[in-house]
């Protein structure tokens, strides 16, 4: 199945073309059209997966477990589809919202390398290859943060890079231990070895290294400090790109590793996951409540919502895993939407400070409608996508008897609602404060509304067609909980 490599090769080719042809008019076309091509390929792969089952490709003709395998199962395919939708939206958003100090071609170059790293992380079936894709993402995102050449961007970028590099070192250390103990880095092969070994508890050392490394990438409770330190500094386009994608890759690897091969010693891992999930939710939600700058509120919000995804993994029933996947997909869309909306507000008013703005509901009702959809989706109001995601998680929590974490999740919902209503009240309902000096009111043209319209539509559609999304995520969860299908399609029963 050679098409499996296309999500990697298309962004790579697009990045090269941007490097060779440096005229801005080319970048203007290559960016959105290229992202759209990635989206189409992801959809095609998803439909192919439904007919043919799990897709694998042995790169370079080396059979698993000796070579690097690319694997697309339901989880990978769902993540690919939604993340490439985010790519399309952000590429359109960038056309209108990048400031002049960032050359469009340079932005799209690193945009596509980031996309390549992300797609690679989603489809690889090899632990070391995953590390390489993480590094590709880390380098591209560091360049993107510091692209505006401002001092606070450099500061935020250094914090981001330093903490993520520590994560990468721990990842590499865990990987080394894993390789030393099992002699393989192919995920399916690892699963086969570790699931059938009664001494697999000894893998907890390397498991905890992975836990910390992915925890840094996914920004869970004690390890999230890089995120609020860096996300409010770059251009809003870049923040939006990161908010939609970066931490979700960390969550993806969490789900992949802790369902596929770190399944021994379940009481320990699941309690650890649930405790960190609870703290992540509450601390993120409370920190968000204390700020009056939209980007900071939403950044802390990302952290808070990561908690829900980890909670689903910690409960570890098929419904809970499906809920975690559903929540991740919904969150990518709705969170990007919220950031796009905050960028539009800032373009109209010239500031992100909620205290200095107001009266947007009267001036711009369309923006108000478009904002309220992702905001209510994040807060979990039916019939939008967030409601079903939270419903699945909470139902799974009650069914499995995890009452404390479920109660925490329900209470955090109120915190989320509170900060969404805060943005709504301050930016939209309240009158424009008089004492503000630079009262700018930029009129938006119709292409400015396009990205948010796509996302709001996607969020509504995900709520309306919740049943089919639910069945896809259940399929993903079943493949994750019972990975024999995954293992067999990668190893093709060749192993002794």
């Amino acid at each position: 199945m050679n098409i499996v490599a296309l999500p990697l090769l298309i962004p790579f080719a697009l990045a090269i073309s941007l490097l060779l042809f440096r005229s801005p008019t080319i970048g203007r076309w290559v960016g959105p059209l290229g992202s759209f091509a990635i989206f189409i390929v992801s959809l095609y792969l998803f439909s192919n997966l439904q007919t043919n089952g799990i897709l694998t490709l042995n790169m370079g003709g080396w059979d698993a477990p000796f070579g690097i395998v690319l694997v697309i199962d339901y989880l990978s395919a769902l993540m690919l589809v939604v993340s490439s939708l985010i790519l399309v939206v952000v590429s359109l958003f960038a056309l209108r919202f990048l400031t002049d100090d960032i050359p469009l071609n340079r932005f799209y170059f690193f945009f596509f390398t980031l996309a390549m790293g992300m797609n690679g992380a989603f489809i690889t079936g090899d632990v070391f290859n995953l590390y390489v894709w993480f590094e590709v993402m880390l380098i591209s995102s560091f360049v993107l943060i510091t692209m505006g050449k401002k001092k606070e961007q450099l500061e935020g970028g250094i914090k981001y890079l330093a903490l993520n590099l520590i994560g990468s070192f721990l990842f590499l250390a865990g990987l080394g231990l894993l390789y030393g103990k099992t002699g393989t880095l192919n995920m399916a092969h690892l699963a086969e070895i570790l699931r059938n070994d009664n001494q697999a508890v000894l893998m907890n050392t390397s498991g905890i290294l992975f836990f910390v490394a992915f925890g840094i990438k996914a920004a869970i409770f004690p390890l999230y400090f890089w995120l609020p330190a860096s996300y409010h500094t770059p251009n809003i386009t870049i923040t939006t790109l990161f908010a939609g994608l970066l931490t979700k890759v960390g969550v993806y690897t969490f789900i992949r590793f802790f369902t596929l091969f770190f399944v021994q010693d379940q009481p320990f891992w699941h309690n650890l996951l649930l405790i960190t999930a609870g703290f992540t939710m509450v601390i993120g939600g409370m920190a968000a409540a204390s700020y009056y700058e939209t980007r900071r509120i939403l950044s802390y919000h990302i952290i808070s919502q990561i908690g829900y995804m980890i909670m689903g993994l910690g409960i570890f029933t098929p419904l809970a895993i499906a809920g975690a996947v559903f929540f991740t997909l919904h969150n990518m869309i709705a969170k990007t939407g919220a950031f796009v909306a905050s960028g539009m507000i800032a373009k109209i008013k010239g500031t992100y400070q909620l205290k200095e703005i107001g009266g947007l509901y009267k001036d711009n009702p369309l923006l108000a409608v478009l904002f309220i959809i992702p905001a209510f989706a994040l807060a979990g109001i039916p019939p939008l996508s967030g409601f079903f995601a939270k419903f699945m998680l909470i139902k799974a929590g009650f069914e499995n008897g995890n009452y404390i974490i479920t109660a925490v999740a329900l209470l955090t919902g109120i915190l989320t609602l509170y900060s969404m209503i805060k943005i709504w009240n301050e930016a939209f309902l309240k009158k424009q404060p008089d004492n503000q000096a630079g009262k700018v009111d930029v009129k938006l043209a119709w292409p400015d509304y396009l990205p948010l319209t796509i996302l709001a539509t996607a969020s509504v559609l995900m709520g309306i067609f919740a049943a089919s999304v639910f069945s896809y995520t259940m399929e993903a969860a079943n493949q994750l909980i019972e990975p024999s299908h995954y293992i067999n399609s990668v190893l093709k029963n060749k192993m002794p």
Binding site: A5, L9, L20, R22, L57, M59, G60, G61, K149, K151
Partner: protein
């Protein structure tokens, strides 16, 4: 830096470095060497001029931009991925053929070698770009 000796020497040493880098590139794959280290050496030969004179002089005298080096290299890498699909089965599968050469058993060439040349050019571009970025005083506002 303004040293006559270094400036005169750079004229000759640079070409030595280029020749040496190509030798290193060619002996790669089965022996120590290859595209990355060869590219570093070739990049060094350009950097040599930058150190002996000024990086600005190098910047004005270089007819090919470092970005184009990187683009060319990455394109070669991209091209080297494809023959495997059409001739054999999977992406990046190595295709080898032997070029007969008198008095030897012939030279083996293949797509991994093309990949290595791609790495070679990419690394040249990156090295020179590093030199340029480090030499200009970018101000962070």
């Amino acid at each position: 830096m303004n040293s006559i000796i270094l400036q005169i020497a750079s004229k000759y040493v640079r070409w030595l470095l280029v020749i040496f880098s190509v030798i290193i590139l060619l002996r790669g794959h089965n022996a120590p060497g290859g595209g990355f280290i060869g590219g570093l050496l070739a990049g060094l030969s350009l950097a040599y001029k930058g150190f002996a004179f000024t990086p600005e002089l190098l910047k004005t005298e270089m007819k090919v931009k470092p970005e184009s080096f990187m683009g060319l290299g990455l394109m070669l890498i991209f091209i080297s991925v494809w023959p495997g699909v059409f001739i054999k089965s999977a992406f990046m599968e190595g295709i080898w053929f032997t070029i007969p050469f008198p008095f030897t058993e012939g030279y083996k060439f293949g797509t991994p070698f093309l990949f290595d040349i791609g790495v070679f050019f990419t690394v040249i571009g990156v090295t020179v770009l590093f030199l340029f970025s480090l030499s200009n005083n970018k101000s962070w506002k």
